[in-house]
Subunit: 477 residues, 2 copies
Amino acid sequence: MKLDKSDFSEWYNTITKEAELCDLRYGIKGFVVFMPWAVMTMNRMYTLMEKEVEDKGHVPALFPALIPEHYLMKESDHVEGFVPEVFWVTKAGVNELEEKYAMRPTSETAMYSMYALWVHGLKDLPLKIYQRCQVWRHETKATKPFIRSREFYWIEAHNCFATRKDALKQVREDMEMTEEVIHKQYCIPFLFFKRPQWDKFAGAENTYAADTLMPDGRALQLPSTHMLGQNFSKAFDIKYKDENGEDQYVWQTCYGPAISRIYAALIATHGDDKGLVLPFDLAPVQIVMVPIYRDETKATVLKECKKLGKKLSKLYTVKLDDSDNTPGFKFNQWEMKGVPLRIELGPRDIEEGTVMLVRRDTGEKLKVKPADLKKKIKEAAKAIRANLKQNADKWFADKLSFTENIDDLGNKIDMHGFVRVPFCSDKVEAKACADIIKEKYHANVRGALFGSTDKPHGKCIACEKDATIYLYVARQY
Amino acid sequence: MKLDKSDFSEWYNTITKEAELCDLRYGIKGFVVFMPWAVMTMNRMYTLMEKEVEDKGHVPALFPALIPEHYLMKESDHVEGFVPEVFWVTKAGVNELEEKYAMRPTSETAMYSMYALWVHGLKDLPLKIYQRCQVWRHETKATKPFIRSREFYWIEAHNCFATRKDALKQVREDMEMTEEVIHKQYCIPFLFFKRPQWDKFAGAENTYAADTLMPDGRALQLPSTHMLGQNFSKAFDIKYKDENGEDQYVWQTCYGPAISRIYAALIATHGDDKGLVLPFDLAPVQIVMVPIYRDETKATVLKECKKLGKKLSKLYTVKLDDSDNTPGFKFNQWEMKGVPLRIELGPRDIEEGTVMLVRRDTGEKLKVKPADLKKKIKEAAKAIRANLKQNADKWFADKLSFTENIDDLGNKIDMHGFVRVPFCSDKVEAKACADIIKEKYHANVRGALFGSTDKPHGKCIACEKDATIYLYVARQY
């Protein structure tokens, strides 16, 4: 199987098939079967993300997958944004339902209907609840496995606060969680944007989102955080009594890391022409053992492998590949699957009292004495993480460019990915300028860099009014 | 809040509310919001069950929640059993769908449509895949939180084998997994039955199931295992080439531990008149620290508590309750929530260099020196598990009775729970006898004890034909 990452779309389609990550032949368009190798990594991604979310004071709950129509209809912007994409349940058994139910496209309206019953006073705040679940959206855009499908897997955290200030603090905390898990642990780089007003979540005051870049230079949205203000608390009547006994609407935020989509970024960021490359902590198999033998040495080698495998299994997920395939076939297969470390063990190694330890990310080979093996594995695991992160960061740094000239913009987007441009504003009235860019280059305005204090100068790249802000442009998924 | 477990139904309703396990006020009948305290325990239950299922060679996958109608219709018994309970998606956005989609009531038809594409030869077998997911059934019976609702959370494992013998071996392995996790780790006792032919899963050759007993003497089904034979493999065309190159249909089993329902059994089995009692490994908070102070000692006591809590947090989930409530209020609250261990710490304890360690299950109090605390906690955790299991087993052993006289059966059911009776057969033609019992005592035949070799004697308790088998009768949820 020949892979060539420079043709990203083809590479991605091939790798998702050859590494057995998903099966696209399920009988509903846009619905994908997630196969074991993908799910095992996604489960590890979930574990790390849920730990972080809980460490930051969120507790898990589970809300129904079905939302009654009258809940969904309570916040008008939200209705407009989501209703066109809703899968509707209208029948149970042979009976028509009196009210139809939406399969949750997102859970604001399910959760906030209950929050209204749960929040009474300051003692109930902040309320920080998340759920791990799947959601359904009848996307009209082309679907691509993990990147965009009509069913996806995520965590959604929904918080209530007494003040706007507390809510804004949560936006910052969400960004820190994204940095901690997605950058430091998954080793995926991103920029954190405040989206322009014309591209915010349906019902939000502001949307913030982490965008990574795929190898073809197109942006992929990772978690987003929505500052909901009091829009939903007013629609759902979520109130608390303040110190003076007066009713106040809560301030709300929500945060939604889509694990299945971040998995797409994981594949794309680290993979190479041999297949997947997985960070050590996210690999379903961390160490594959490949015995090297002839008929007459098979028994001895396998015995030695099993002995060593048993020891290592106490600390790591280890797979001994004792199938009848050739070592070369096995090397290729497990490289395609992205197993971070390979141990080769043959008669000569046994004689010499060593094993060969091979890194997937660099191909580096290390002759190791069994007594040193645990230490060397630990070092290698750490080195792999550092190397993946460093490579990804280095690649990503070069993807950032800037221009003030619209004629130059297309080239810059092609050569890099994200291009910073001066803009008249990020308010709704500036959408016309974004449309000009979209029409000319099929690129989108992704927003302002969160926390940036760069003062813009010159004119808006599209309308030539005085610039008030720097915005970032990229093609997008 | 006064609880009285001898009135089980009332006790159960009160405890699910007072311990904040669920909220029944969601806007769709039979759909319940699972609140954090319940979900945190259910997540721990999932972790233990998934570990066991994976240790037994299953790998995780994720199949779509929606099943196209033509998949669902492929196996005729299955259609008859499930279609009356299906929630149907008929619309996406404003458009009617060409084919309607079922929200999975169970995933045989979703998974086996793919298995037909995945299984080719002996090298693909056994195929052992599970998914962690939720399912939806429009139950017509009365719903009760966790016990029966229209949406529930489970694991479903679906396996393919080359031979009938391998499939039957899996039935036994499923029973062993149930014993290992549900009995040994959750401390819930059960009997493992082979269901009579008139009460098997829609599409199965045979159904096996673990039944526990609720405090009111009614049976609750925990995991079931279905020996599907070749019914589905023929309907879905799941074949492999055998050694002679000839096509053979696979043999199939499936296993379905409903975690949300087993959680109901956990509440019911261990709870008492003070509230929940949770096994140490399943408790969202394992140790609650209650500081005892007056105004003038508050600072010292809290400082000491925090110091100790920080240490213990490295090993256990610890909560320091530093709210303004009185110690007595805190004791009651955390007892209601079932926290296994309480540490009380006041000025006198600090002076004496001890803390008070209190067990939730027995109320036993132990003065412990800080240096011994870790050891004592470890011992207590182990003792709690042993005690919960022993109490539950002892109670359960007394719930098993037998009779050969139908006039005596009602009393026996009332006094115990499970009653063993001689029966003419467990084949479909004996359903009339089961109906007699159902009519007379509102009780059901649960099946034959799996693996029992007791030879029946005498006459069928209902029809007076010669008995061929012992079956067990109980009222049921």
